[in-house]
């Protein structure tokens, strides 16, 4: 029979658990639930109107101009996710491998690779805006200096380059994170196993594909899921570098910017609409939760316990 009497220990545990639980309930659970509720009402600015059921969801998904804005923003999130998967996580893996093999200067590079991660996104955004400045930016000046003047571009002003410029800035900023996680995973691989491989083959490629990659699967799960969530919640960097409108003409628009514009309005839009904004937020939340769940389950299944 378990004792329900509050002992000193029980009191302690209660006292420690209740405040954070209340905090989470108040500031995380409650806002999420109220956003759910908001999405089912008609809004006149910040004034709640009548209950409209699924109308707001229908509008953002199927009624023009919202439908094409939603599709446009969503497609950019998908591009960002896959591009960063290669540029950020892929490069991160190979950087981690190089650091783990202790190539010359590994100690310096370990710090250098991770350093940008500690910078604020706002700073990185402004920094890259300066780098990519059409007249004085270091990118265009270097290109001109190397005699490649015709490659100098207004990077952030063209639909063909703007999104990729943002992706590159993000990859530069965050590549240290997957590197660090993969490196930690690699350092857990037992040396006996590596010695055994060395007897069999001298090929680095075989070592990477047959031993290292399968054994860092838990790290991969973590960085993949975090990248997925990050790519679909992408906001700060596009906001700083391209502005709320996803300039130029929506070619850097992502769900985060689109949600913000819809719910809170911006200088050049008409009315703010909390109902449509909330409906978007709910859709984004559900999409991320479901897909991130599936990815996690699938990736966990291939992890090998050491």
């Amino acid at each position: 029979m378990p004792q329900l009497r509050l002992t000193g220990r029980g009191l302690w545990i209660t006292a420690l658990i209740v405040p954070p639980l209340a905090f989470v309930a108040l500031f995380v659970v409650y806002p999420i639930i109220s956003a759910f509720a908001y999405a089912f009402f008609d809004w006149n600015g910040l004034l709640r109107g009548e209950f409209v059921g699924l109308d707001n969801f229908h509008t953002v998904l199927f009624v023009e101009p919202y439908a094409s804005w939603t599709r446009n923003a969503f497609s950019h999130n998908i591009i960002v996710f896959f591009a960063l998967m290669v540029l950020q996580n892929g490069l991160g893996f190979f950087l981690a491998y190089a650091l783990w093999r202790e190539l010359p200067g590994a100690r310096f590079h370990r710090i250098a690779v991770f350093l940008p991660v500690v910078l604020s996104t706002i700073i990185v955004g402004y920094l890259f805006k300066l780098f990519l400045h059409p007249l004085f930016g270091v990118v265009n000046i270097s290109l001109r200096g190397m005699g490649l003047g015709e490659l100098a571009q207004p990077w952030l002003g063209q639909s063909s380059t703007a999104l990729w410029a943002l992706i590159a800035a993000n990859a530069w900023h965050m590549v240290g994170f997957p590197t660090l996680v993969f490196l930690a995973g690699m350092q857990r691989i037992p040396t006996e196993m590596l010695d055994a491989v060395r007897m069999e083959t001298r090929s680095e490629w075989v070592k990477i594909t047959k031993i290292v990659w399968p054994l860092v699967a838990p790290s991969a799960t973590v960085v993949f899921v975090l990248l997925f969530v990050g790519a679909f919640n992408w906001f700060e960097l596009p906001y700083v570098m391209a502005g709320l409108d996803g300039s130029p003409f929506g070619s850097t628009d992502v769900l985060g910017l689109y949600f913000y514009r819809t719910a809170f309005g911006n200088v050049s839009s008409g009315q703010q609409d909390f109902g449509l904004g909330s409906a978007l937020a709910v859709l984004i939340f559900l999409f991320i939760a479901v897909i991130a769940g599936l990815i996690t389950v699938r990736l966990r299944a291939r992890e090998i316990q050491l």
């Binding site: 101009p65 805006k129 002003g157 409108d245 130029p248 809170f264």
Partner: protein
Amino acid sequence: MPSTIIRIGAALAAMSVAAPAMAQDLTFWSWRQEDRAQYEQFIDTFEAANPGITVTLETFEATNYNTILATALAGGSGPDLMMVRAYGGLESIAVPGYLEPLTTETVPALADYTPEALAAETVRADGKVYAVPFASQTQLVIYNKKIFDDAGLSEPQTWDEFMALSQKLKDSGIIPIANGTATAWQNETVTFDFVSSLMGKDFVADIMSGETDFTDERFTSALAALKDLSQYFPDGFIGLDYASAQQLFSSGMAAMFGGGSYELATFRAQNPDLELGVFAAPGRTAEDEKLVALYFDGGYAANAAGANKEAALKFINYLASTEFGQAFADNLNNISTAPGVTFQDPLLAEVAELNATSIPYLFLVNFRYGEPSGSVLIQSEVQKLFAGETTPEAAGQAITDGLKVWYEPFQD
């Protein structure tokens, strides 16, 4: 003796009961944090002339002001007096009935305001004025007088002169026009800074009356001219943001900047040595009217549910007066909309003069009442035009089609 005490006590009690009725406290909300000191002065002037009424100013951050005000009004804790936005921004709080309608009976000075100014603070559905408009902004061309003088140039009278003058500046190694269009809203401003005169008053009148749409040749040919003019913008201007463009001009690297009258103060602050001039970009021939684009910033409104409405209206009347308008223009360097104001600052006087021949800043004034707003459409279409991803005709078509969703005159 005790009777004296009782008498004093009774007098005190009577005073404490009467006091709230005598002294009327009003709250006044504003988004102009930077103008706080000047507004305190205006309020002092009012309080000196109206003993018994006190006005307390509260200022909020501009970008969040609408949200804060709308929430407070909806929750019944709004201020007695407030600055409100114009056009669509006014409607969002006036339509739910939070604002006291103003008439020429309650605010006689309104009779002398221009119809355009009053229209900015009028709800389209009921035709009532809800606020006293306080300032106008003008979209025009700002230029560096020194560069013009050194190159022996003068304000252009025709579009061809404008192009030739820009070419001359470019040949001498000066950036003719500083604007960059990576910042979305700059695409809307440059359109009206440079090609308002090419669109012409008739086109705007026809648009307002629903007789034509943006596929009109007068509009598309103006866009074509704008695209042509953009060869005199900085290299890679489509990737240049607003702040960088301003710096190109204020540092003296560029000769002209298409901007608003609100920019003059910024340029003076960035470079006090700059000699500024303003002109309205020319039409095709010297006879064509040179037009600037005009809009109104916002107004002063009273709370319909305020407790001291009579006192609030007194303050509104003060804000609508020429006396206040003059103080506003002198102290805040803004174009006051109050009738009979004269401008000491020569640049402001010139802007006020240019305002006499103007068209409305069309997309803000008439097309921000639905989604997608006309501003969003013209910004992205002009941005596409500059990037070479659309033609003037296709842009006009896209703007018309976009507006069709909610703008009834375009639906047929």
